[in-house]
Subunit: 425 residues, 2 copies
């Protein structure tokens, strides 16, 4: 395709998506669920063809010298194929958010006023070379009554094309427009720019991938973006913390997995608790080979326990390691912890460990993050753990959805009025 045609091409994809979105918005739950189940069946049926398409991408990725982790994420193994099919069936089993009416109240004028949950319209998903996102994102958009335009990493092109075709087959067989799920059918990177700058084509963009992808999209987008950039998550161990809970949560939040955005990066410890809990926590980190970067007091305590620690710099408080590294700071108490989080945090997820009720409630109220927790690991900030049934991403923005974004975040609420002939006087 000639690059000069890209805006025209994207506009045409957008026009088709817009038309399809009117049908998906009013589609009965049964039709949407049938489409999802049919797509799941098609994925299982075509497992061999999917692996063949994927093999082309894998070969090219190896030839291009991508590393093992990259190739891993790209691979459609039998397990990945089954989990994609299962994922669609799980989405089909969720309650339909669309059309839900709530808060219908009679007003003095006699009209009854409430809200109805409705799809956003057309969702653009821009993601890296993980073909399973094609299925996951398409499934959530179908269920929430939206049309979607998918733009996956070019290294997954053949895999994505094969997967999208199966979803479109499911839609069509269920009597829904195939154009409710479209893949940008070119590997030209400029297509992303054309997509995210066309508010006629898409109502919202959900980028899924690394920080550089999300930064670029946020900077260039002319449509709203549901996103988070950093997950600089904190655990604050309060004066009144239960030491057992403190040790358990500080361990889990950092070490259960290092790469998720809800993993803790900075541990804040109230001075009065530090001598009690920090050596024990440091022992666990040291055993798990987590590098500790502390302020002077923290380093002194850790070293006194015969464990290694290095001096943290200001840059550490602002860094999302996503690695076996933790920054540690001793604070005077709740106020200083809240100050630290306000200054250095990324409004993602922050937790307090305390048995002091007022401290807990102040932390919840005053820490301005999309998830705030008392006596729980930051790793719980997740659509499945929160009971959303699925997650398309996490938002640290303040408008619309905050925190884990599930089906509800792909919808909004309009006002509905039931009258019996009322007029305004």
């Amino acid at each position: 395709m000639n690059p000069i045609d890209l805006p025209v091409y994207v506009a045409e994809v957008g026009r088709r998506a817009r038309m399809a979105s009117r049908d998906t918005a009013r589609a009965p739950s049964a039709a949407k669920d049938a489409a999802l189940r049919l797509a799941a069946a098609a994925i299982r049926r075509e497992a061999q063809a999917l692996r063949a398409a994927n093999a082309i991408d894998l070969q090219a990725a190896r030839t291009a010298g991508h590393d093992a982790a990259f190739v891993d994420r790209l691979a459609l193994t039998d397990a990945v194929i089954e989990s994609m099919a299962l994922g669609l069936e799980q989405i089909a089993a969720l309650p339909d958010p669309v059309g839900e009416m709530s808060e219908l109240r009679f007003r003095p004028s006699g009209i009854q006023v409430g809200r109805m949950r409705v799809p956003l319209g057309v969702i653009g998903i821009v993601y890296e070379s993980r073909p399973n996102v094609t299925i996951d994102a398409a499934g959530l958009c179908i269920k929430s009554g939206n049309a979607t335009i998918l733009r996956g990493g070019s290294e997954a092109f053949h895999s994505n094309r094969a997967l999208a075709a199966l979803v479109r087959e499911g839609l069509q067989t269920a009597g829904l427009p195939a154009d409710a799920v479209q893949l940008i059918d070119t590997t030209d990177r400029a297509a992303v720019g054309a997509l995210i700058s066309n508010p006629e084509a898409v109502d919202v963009i959900v980028p899924r991938g690394g920080k550089s992808l999300i930064e670029r999209i946020s900077r260039e987008a002319r449509v709203p973006v549901i996103k988070h950039l950093d997950g600089i998550c904190h655990v604050y161990i309060d004066d009144a913390a239960d030491p057992e809970k403190a040790v358990r949560i500080a361990d889990n939040a950092k070490t259960q997995r290092y790469s998720p955005c809800n993993a803790m990066e900075t541990l804040l410890v109230a001075r009065s608790m530090a001598a009690n809990v920090l050596p024990r926590i440091a022992r666990i980190y040291a055993d798990k080979q987590v590098e500790m970067r502390g302020d002077a007091e923290a380093c002194a305590l850790i070293k006194a326990a015969g464990l290694p620690a290095v001096a943290a710099t200001e840059a550490d408080w602002a860094t999302e390691y996503l690695a076996p590294i933790v920054s540690i700071r001793i604070v005077s108490g709740l106020d200083e912890a809240i100050e630290h989080i306000a200054r250095w945090g990324s409004q993602h997820t922050d937790a307090i460990v305390t048995e002091h009720h007022s401290h807990a409630m102040r932390f919840l109220r005053e820490v301005d993050s999309s998830s705030v927790m008392v006596n729980a690991s930051t790793r719980f900030a997740d659509g499945f753990e929160y009971g959303l049934g699925a997650e398309i991403g996490i938002s640290t923005d303040k408008l619309h959805a905050r925190g884990p974004v599930g089906l509800e975040g792909l919808t909004s609420q309009k006002w509905v009025v039931f009258g019996s002939g009322q007029i305004r006087t």
Copy 2:
């Protein structure tokens, strides 16, 4: 002030607003309500000084040749002054939306997950030369725990400055930071540009004024904007309409007031009902000197009744008259009405008049507007009529708030997690 300093000045105003917003976000309801009541008392106490400041603006406006309507909107009469004070007291009496927790549910992991309503942060309000907006906007922002940066029309500069000082006095006396309400203290128009392009300074912009103001802000803003551009509202009289309700609603939606954005601009009439209701409606319009622009069928029916009508062009379907003009089209039924609204509407407010249950429910579901109504006048699309207690504006966007935006639209919801030491496994 030197224009070159504007971005620096706005950044400094933003920095102060950001700091103040942390205090207002955690302020007790009683302190916020006290600030509102103290400001109301100060406005009554300083009525004479307000009129004196206003007189400077009025004199300049007359000298500059502004028309009577403009000067009217600018004037702080005794009635306007009392209504501003009363408005603040009414906002004080509303329930505090901040801190409200909802949907707290236990999850299988043992954590309890729910949401807490929190302020957005810093709200920028850009408005025309209506000094009462200064008070109205400041009041809603204080109540919702936000800081606000106000930029009113330069012709109201002295009036706005005097009003803002009284609100700041109320805040300070109530123990809240005066900087929770700041006025951009320059008449330089470039200040608007500096404000709306600084996401550090403001979290969201609410423009209040005419279409050209809102278009400019939407185009140039680098922060989210809560807005609507057009109110091309429709009433569709269905095959199964009650003719009495149809006549009453078509009359009220068009003629109760011509200038509000929720006034009807286009009347759609099902062919089977047209001969019955259209001559009666046309008689009312003719008596009220409303110009009728119809398609061929509508014109024929109106003229057959001995009343004047002119041929509508395509441009009429896309026009918000805000005047005693109405466009009228005969449609084959519900589907064509929904199509017309999808093509020409502005997603503001649309109503169906029908006694047919399934038609009513399809219209509610399938018309993608921020307010959809059955058997009620479009003029009800209003924060007070909906029971919001107040209204800062109307949004036709799909993310965040849709339709009338009250206190809740100036807040969002974060996730709160109550645990007892849970970790993720």
